[in-house]
Point group: C2
Chain length 454, copies 2
C-alpha cells in the first residue's frame, strides 16, 4: 500500500546507487584499517617492550607484517598495489557483493583517508615532541651538546650523501635525502633508554639528551630543505640558502613571537568555557602553523613542532601535555604502522640478484649511521673524564624522525623502493642495537649513576 | 656539476608531477578545513554558552555560517557544490597556482577526508554517550521513565510520519526518516540544563534523564531500522522485524557478552605496558563493534554506543572517560560543523515561492516535535504530585541524535534538501526553546530542589 503514494518530483527517494553504496563502505574500510593498525601496533609495541626494545620499533615491524611485505592486509597505491592486492578489500568484497569498479574506488578513498590520518599523526607527534622539548634545558647543557649535535648531523650526512653518489652512482637528490635521513637522533628512544638504565641525569645522559633535542631541530630543518629540493627538483644554491634561512627564521621567529602569543593563548583558554577550551585552541594553532610552514614551502611538521615549542612555554603546558597524550596515542600509531606497511622489504631479499645493490646500499647506510654518530663522543672537549663511547652510542638510534624522512621521501617520489627500504632497515637496525650497546658502554664507567626511572 | 651525475634507471628522481603535487595539498586543504571547523565551533559554542544555550547549538550554527548557506568556506559535493564554489579551494589555488583538474581532484579528496573525520567524530560521540549512560541508573528510575520514553518516541514518530505523508504528500521512506528524527531526546543537553538549574536530582529530573537515556537507545534502534530501509529501499515488514530484532539483539547481546568481555578488557589493559594501553584497546573494540554493526546492516554508531555501554561497566571506566574526552573534543566538532555546513538553509528563505512548502513542513515538524514530547508528562502514572509539564518540556531538546538523523539521511540521499533543512531547523528550535521553558516549568513547583551543578 505504501508504495502507491504520490511522489512529488522534488522528493527523490534514493540517491544514485553508487554514491549511496560507496560512502558507508569507505567508512567501513577505514574502520577495519584502524582496527588492523591498532592491533599491529599494540602487538608489535608490546612484544618490543618485552624484549627490552623501544615500542616504536615494534609498531614499525607490526606495520611491515600487516603491509605489503607480508600479510597484505593494509596496502597503498603508492607502493604499486591495486585493490585486488588488498586482503582487506577482498574481504569487504566477499561480505558486500561489490562491483570491481566500486572496489577500486573504495580502495582509493580508503588509502587516501588512512594516509591523511597518518600525516595528522606525524603532525601531532612533532607537536608533542615540541611540547616536550624545553628551551631552558637546551640552554643549560650548553655548547657541549651543540658540538655533539652538529658533528652528529654533519658527519653522517656528508659521508652518506657523498658515499651514495660516488660509490653507488645514486643521483644527487635521492642521495641527499638518504644522507639527511641519517642525521636525526630520536629524543624519545634515547631518553627512554637512558631513563630505563638510570643514566638520564648523568653528565653523559644530559649531553646526549641535549644533543638529541638540537639534533631533532637540525634534522627538521634539514628535512625542510631536502623535501623542498625534492619538490622543486633543482639544486639551486640560492634555494638552499633561502630554505635554511626561512626554516631557521620560521623556527626562531615563532619562538620569539611565541613569547607574545603565549599570553594571548592563555587568556583565550581562560575565557573559553565550553569543552575543549584548551585542546581546541592548541590544535587550531598547531594546524595553522603546519599550514603556514607548508605555504612557505617548508614541511607541515616543522610548523607543528614550532607550535609545540611555543605552547610549551605557557602555564597551561602540563594540562595540555596530559590532554595531547590520548590524542597522540590514537593517531601516531597510524603513522608508524603505515610507514612499515608501505615499506616493501621484499626488495632486500638477497635471493633475488636484482636486490643485491639495494642490500649493499643498506649495509653502507648502517655503517655510516653508526660510525657517524659514535665519533660525536670524541667531539666533546674540556671533559677528560667523560665516557665518550657512551655519548656516541647514545646518539645512534634514529627513530621517529628517520622514519618521517623515509615516509615523506617515498610519498614525494624522491626515494625509490630499494633506497626507502634501506633507510627503514637502517632505522630499525640503529634503533635495535642502541639499547644493548648503551648498557655495555655505560658498564665501562666505574660507578653507575643513581637510578632515575621516569 | 651535480646535475652531470650518472643516473641509473632504477633510481627515478621524481614521481609524476600530479601525484607528488597533489598529496601535500590534500593535507594542506584538510589542515585549513580543520582550522575553519575549530574556529567556527568555538565561536559558535562559546557565544551559545554566553546566551545560556547549549554549546552544541552554537557549533551547528557556526557550521551553517561557514558552510553552503553563508560563507562557502567549507562546502561538500553532496550539497551540489563544485571546487569553484569553495572559497577554501579558491584560496589554495591563488597561493599555489594549480590547474583546474588538480583543484577538482583535491576538492574531492578533501571532502572525502573531512566527511570520514566527521563520521569518526559521531562514532566517538556515541561511544562517549555509551560510556556516560549507566545501566544501573536506568534500572533505578524504573518503569516511569520507560513509559515516558516510549510515549515520547511513538507519539512524535506516528504524528510526524503520518502527517508528512497524508497532509504533505511526502513519500513513505523520507516521511519515516523525518518522523524518526523527531524521536530522540538529547541526554547531553537535557542533563546539562537540569544540572544548571539545580533539578538534576529531583524526581522529575531523574525521570527525564532516565527517559532520555532509554530514548537515545530507542532512537538509535529506530535510526538503524530507518537507515537500513533507506539502503534497501523497500518497506518490507519482514525486514523491519529483522532489523528491530537484530538491533535489539545486537544491543542486548553486546551488553550480555560485555559482562564477560569486561574482564578480558581489564586484563588486556593491565597486561599492556606501552603508551595507549587503555585507549587503544578501547578504540579497537569500539571500531570493531562499529564495523560489526555495519556488517549486519545496522548503523556503525549503534556498535560504538554498545561498545561504550559495555566498557562503562569496567573498573577502568573513570580513567577511560578522562582519556576519551580530549579525543572527542577534537573530533566531535567536525561532525556538528559539517552537519551545519552541509545544510542549505537557503531553501527556507520565505521570499522564494518554491520554498514555502519546505517552510510549512518545518513549522509542522516543530509543532509535532514540541507537542509530541510535552504529552509524555501526562503518561506518568501513580505520581499525582509530579510536575508533568516540566517532564514534558525536559524531553523537548533533540540535540545530537536528531542531527545524526539529518546527517545520515542526507548522506544516504533519502532526505532532499528542504526536508533535511526542516529537520535541522526543528532541532535548532527545540534545542533553543527547551532551556528557558524548562526554567519556567520548574518555577511552578513550590520548592526548588537543592542545587547540584556538575
Amino acid at each position: 500500500m505504501l508504495h502507491d503514494l504520490n511522489i512529488p518530483q522534488s522528493f527523490p527517494i534514493f540517491a544514485t546507487a553508487t554514491e549511496a553504496e560507496k560512502a558507508p563502505l569507505v567508512l567501513t574500510s577505514v574502520l577495519l584499517s584502524l582496527v588492523i593498525v591498532y592491533i599491529a601496533s599494540k602487538l608489535g609495541g608490546e612484544l618490543s617492550k618485552r624484549l627490552d626494545l623501544p615500542p616504536v620499533l615494534g609498531e614499525l615491524i607490526g606495520g611491515v607484517i600487516v603491509g605489503t611485505s607480508a600479510l597484505n592486509l593494509l596496502v597503498f597505491p603508492e607502493s604499486g598495489a591495486t585493490a585486488s592486492d588488498s586482503l582487506l578489500m577482498t574481504f569487504l568484497q566477499s561480505i558486500s557483493d561489490l562491483s570491481p569498479e566500486s572496489v577500486t574506488s573504495i580502495f582509493a578513498s580508503q588509502s587516501e583517508v588512512v594516509s591523511v590520518l597518518a600525516e595528522l599523526g606525524v603532525i601531532i607527534l612533532l607537536f608533542e615532541i615540541g611540547l616536550e622539548s624545553e628551551l631552558r634545558e637546551l640552554q643549560s647543557v650548553g655548547y657541549q651538546a651543540a658540538v655533539v649535535a652538529v658533528v652528529g648531523v654533519v658527519a653522517p650526512f656528508a659521508a652518506g650523501t657523498l658515499g651514495l653518489m660516488y660509490f653507488f652512482g645514486v643521483s644527487a637528490i635521492p642521495a641527499i635525502f638518504a644522507g639527511a635521513a641519517l642525521t636525526a637522533t630520536s629524543i624519545g628512544i634515547t631518553s627512554k633508554v637512558l631513563s630505563e638504565i638510570g643514566h638520564l641525569k648523568s653528565k653523559e645522559g644530559q649531553i646526549i639528551v641535549g644533543a638529541a633535542v638540537i639534533d631533532d631541530v637540525l634534522g627538521i630543518i634539514v628535512l625542510a630543505v631536502v623535501a623542498s629540493l625534492a619538490k622543486t627538483g633543482e639544486i639551486d644554491i640560492l634555494n638552499v640558502v633561502y630554505l635554511i634561512i626561512s626554516a631557521t627564521a620560521f623556527l626562531l621567529g615563532s619562538i620569539l613571537l611565541g613569547k607574545f602569543f603565549n599570553k594571548s593563548f592563555v587568556s583565550i583558554a581562560d575565557i573559553l568555557q565550553t569543552r575543549g577550551q584548551l585542546v581546541i585552541p592548541a590544535f587550531t594553532f598547531a594546524f595553522l602553523m603546519a599550514f603556514l610552514a607548508n605555504a612557505i614551502h617548508l614541511e607541515a611538521i616543522l610548523g607543528a613542532f614550532a607550535a609545540g615549542l611555543v605552547l610549551d612555554e605557557t602555564d597551561k603546558r602540563k594540562e595540555l601535555d596530559k590532554q595531547v597524550v590520548p590524542i597522540a596515542d590514537i593517531l601516531v600509531p597510524i603513522f608508524f604502522v603505515s610507514v612499515g606497511a608501505k615499506a616493501d622489504l621484499g626488495v632486500l631479499n638477497p635471493a633475488v640478484p636484482a636486490n643485491r645493490e639495494g642490500l649493499i646500499i643498506a649495509t653502507f647506510l648502517i655503517v655510516v649511521a653508526i660510525i657517524g654518530k659514535i665519533i660525536t663522543g670524541w667531539a666533546v672537549i674540556g671533559q677528560p673524564q667523560i665516557n665518550r663511547l657512551a655519548i656516541g652510542v647514545g646518539m645512534i638510534p634514529r627513530g621517529e624522525v628517520g622514519l618521517v624522512f623515509a615516509g615523506i621521501g617515498s610519498a614525494s617520489g624522491v626515494l625509490d623502493k630499494p633506497l626507502e627500504a634501506a633507510i627503514i632497515i637502517m632505522v630499525i637496525i640503529t634503533t635495535f642495537i642502541a639499547p644493548p650497546f648503551l648498557r655495555l658502554a655505560f658498564k665501562q664507567s666505574a660507578q653507575p649513576a643513581k637510578s632515575s626511572v621516569e
